[in-house]
Symmetry: C2
Subunit: 357 residues, 2 copies
């Protein structure tokens, strides 16, 4: 089959022979440099007949540009990363770059590997969402042989282009919203505090409560992980301990789905008895019943911003490292906004015209 067809394709040399010119002329024609009409014609004809296609590897070697950019994150399955990817891809593509995808499976060593492999020069740049930023990361960043854009928090003074979310403001939006709805016993279901998001969201919750004049009550906080089942269990415990809770701020959408499961099982109405807010505004938020109010941290925007920063660097931007912060947005749906809406929800952007056959 195809394996046998892999006979060496034509090169610039083949064309030169057939057209009776030198390889330099062929190259010039192919690159649109000024050349006599007659030569152009001959070369084009030969190239067409041979079905010539430029060899990208050889070009890259000479030009020191691969026209590839890498994107590295823990797991494409995570909707937040996916949203970034979906923005990054078209921006790069339109600018003539290919996208090399690295999934590090949440293994820090893999992230370091990716940074190290920049030295192989198989890409012109790297956009990375690190899980956490270790000393090793910082060292490799300093030594990086190609431009890097980091999405996520980095220590002050790190000399690297950086795009951030603002979960502090995000949590505040949600708490303000709940407070405005008259809720006064607002619980928080968080993930582990030793993760960057967990810590940030926990602190933001406390601060936002203060902002609306509510006391911080440890009993109202329950820690689990970032998954649905454990989120549900955490909510069950909280309900036991604080039966009069009237709202739940959940650290991500999966936790919030778990909360809906448990509240339903416990016979609490959402949002009448307990209002629920999720975080990340994933597709799941629109799909659940009742649909879930959720704080969008602008994953898509962050992806786009990162891609644009990268392009600027690649186009010779040599300035100081830049920091872009993306504003969060509260998307209000049925889980806080009164009666669950019963008409058609907004289009989910998840599926395309055709699903795979």
């Amino acid at each position: 089959m195809k394996g046998t067809t892999l006979a060496d394709g034509p090169t610039i040399n083949t064309i030169a022979e057939r057209a009776g010119v030198s390889i330099a002329s062929v190259s010039r024609v192919l690159n649109g440099l000024p050349t006599r009409q007659e030569t152009v014609r001959k070369v084009m004809a030969a190239a067409d007949e041979l079905g010539y296609v430029r060899n990208a590897v050889a070009r890259s070697l000479k030009s020191r540009r691969t026209h590839q950019v890498a994107f590295a994150m823990a797991d494409v399955g995570n909707p937040a990363y996916l949203a970034m990817l979906r923005q990054i891809q078209p921006v790069l593509k339109d600018a003539g770059y290919r996208l090399v995808l690295h999934s590090t499976d949440a293994v820090v060593a893999d992230e370091i590997d990716v940074l190290h492999s920049l030295g192989e020069r198989y890409v012109d740049g790297l956009i990375m969402v690190p899980l956490r930023v270790t000393e090793a990361h910082l060292e490799m960043l300093d030594a990086a042989r190609a431009p890097v854009v980091i999405i996520g928090q980095v220590p002050e003074g790190t000399r690297v282009d950086n795009v951030r979310a603002d979960s502090r403001t995000g949590v505040k939006l949600a708490i303000d919203h709940l407070h405005a709805l008259g809720r006064r016993r607002i619980g928080m279901i968080n993930g582990p505090l030793d993760t960057v998001p967990g810590a940030a969201r926990g602190a933001a919750y406390r601060e936002a409560l203060g902002g609306v004049g509510l006391p911080y009550d440890e009993d109202l906080v329950q820690i689990g992980d970032f998954y649905r089942a454990e989120g549900g269990r955490a909510v069950a415990e909280l309900l036991d301990r604080v039966p009069d809770v009237d709202a739940l701020m959940c650290a991500n959408d999966l936790i919030a789905l778990g909360a809906l499961d448990v509240l339903r099982a416990a016979g609490r109405r959402v949002p009448e008895d307990v209002a629920v807010v999720g975080m990340d505004d994933t597709d799941l938020a629109a799909a659940s019943w009742p649909s879930l109010s959720s704080v969008s941290l602008g994953s898509a925007e962050r992806g786009r911003a990162a891609a644009e920063l990268m392009l600027e660097r690649l186009q010779g931007g040599d300035g100081e490292p830049r920091l872009v912060t993306v504003a969060p947005r509260l998307v209000v749906r049925a889980s806080t906004a009164g009666a669950p809406v019963a008409d058609f929800p907004a289009e989910s952007r998840t599926d395309r015209k055709e699903s795979a056959e």
Copy 2:
């Protein structure tokens, strides 16, 4: 910033100079070919001090291998493609290949482009999920200068490695299930019939009805598109026309979600009054309320199979084109199986330990 650090990295020449040997020796040491101990030591030392990293582009040029494989589909946002991607990526990675991602945005010309660009030899192979297979596709496939694996239906006799789902059996599983539950007025909500999935699923529905001895009734079939809102509208029309429908076979999960919306609004209980089955078994199926029974067409398995076929080709497999068909699976959840379950649903595989900050 980094831009200034991009001074040319060390090459094999730099090492040769510093170690006082020839570049051939350096290359030999770096590749582990037999060399005198003393030389090995000197070269290693020099390489370490210089922080040398092999240039992937130059290697590729010489070895005619890029260690990259491309994956092309319409849209990463589609959960089916995403499921494939998530399997393909680790298989390739473990085998030492990088993944280049192409999103064609459902534009056929883009797909042709991707096939054409194989001639640039920037990848060693291509895994592709075409929207539909045109004449142009077939021509390019024949002329392809690297191994290609197609996921999806291709015309008989196309000489290409191929992985397929079996939506016919999939639909049959669902219809048999509904029939066994005592449903006799089973409607179908389908997408456009001029798409490959639409046509296949429509025909399979008719055939499966026959299989359980039910008549095919045109009134029970409603065509819309593959999205949620339109799916809902289609269901509303069907309900108007055939009020006694007692089950709905939906051509994908989004349509099924639309069905749930409309059934709820119409005061029909799911599954007591109307049972609903979706297709593709996306994350949304587990997240919805009631959770959605869905036919899995094995996207993940298809991805894995495709990646494995590709690796075999790359490792020199020269045999006949191969065909792998993946068996479908019916995942029964609350929307057909009696009372909606109220305990914690199975873990969704969507999220990871840490969500993006």
